[in-house]
């Protein structure tokens, strides 16, 4: 079990099926607590921030617990797999990440939901909004990848004096 959870490589499609099952179970579980909607990240994390700012416990619902659970769960999984370490990226990457995060927030506000809300939940509900959003997320990611993913000219490999180890 430990091997399966922390070492073995998971096929992305098998992982997708597991996530699909969890996303399905999320509906009745969330509804049982009086919150009648599926998985969500944007609204619950906005609620979490709202709670931290105002102390209004009304904001703490199933969705907020889900968001906290994702953080805690990812930490446990990464730690157990030996993949956790605090890594500081370079300035340019940090700034790009912050701008990207702000962009995603604005996008989520315009689209009425984040990537999870639109691509996972809304498509599962056969809502036309979800499919339009998903299509443009793929197009946007493709354009951004083409524009930004290229090797740096300066980062050439340095020869080493180390002899070969056969």
């Amino acid at each position: 079990m430990a091997h399966l959870l922390t070492e073995r490589w998971w096929n992305p499609f098998a992982t997708a099926v597991v996530i699909g099952i969890i996303a399905t179970i999320a509906w009745p579980l969330s509804a049982a607590t009086g919150r009648n909607s599926g998985l969500g990240i944007t609204t619950p994390s906005a609620n979490l921030t709202g709670y931290l700012a105002t102390g209004d416990t009304e904001l703490i619902d199933w969705g907020v617990m889900l968001v906290i659970g994702i953080l805690v769960g990812s930490f446990i999984a990464a730690k157990a797999s030996g993949e956790f370490r605090i890594r500081v990226r370079d300035q340019a990457t940090i700034i790009k990440s912050i701008l990207g995060g702000i962009g995603m927030r604005v996008g989520a506000a315009i689209a009425g939901g984040c990537t999870v809300g639109n691509a996972m939940v809304s498509t599962a509900q056969f809502e036309y909004q979800g499919w339009v959003a998903t299509l443009f997320m793929i197009v946007g990611a493709g354009v951004a990848a083409k524009a930004t993913i290229k090797p740096k000219q300066s980062a050439a490999a340095v020869p080493t004096t180390e002899s070969r180890s056969a």
């Binding site: 993949e83 890594r87 990226r89 990457t93 290229k150 090797p151 490999a157 080493t160």
Partner: protein, 74 residues
Amino acid sequence: MKQVLETDGLVCPFPLVEAKDAISGLEIGNELVINFDCTQATEAIPQWAAENGYPVTHFDRVTDASWTITVQKA
């Protein structure tokens, strides 16, 4: 001969992008040591090596979230 490519600190997919770039300058039979610390590359780099028929001569986790892989140009 071996060449070392340090990509620690680079987010995925950049270690792979840099590796592709670096290996193009190597002669057949020479090895490229790629040090990286983004998890996704533990899958992406071996897959790229396999697709190109490059043998992976060494692959190890150095410490938490840090790996080294040696790919031979073929």
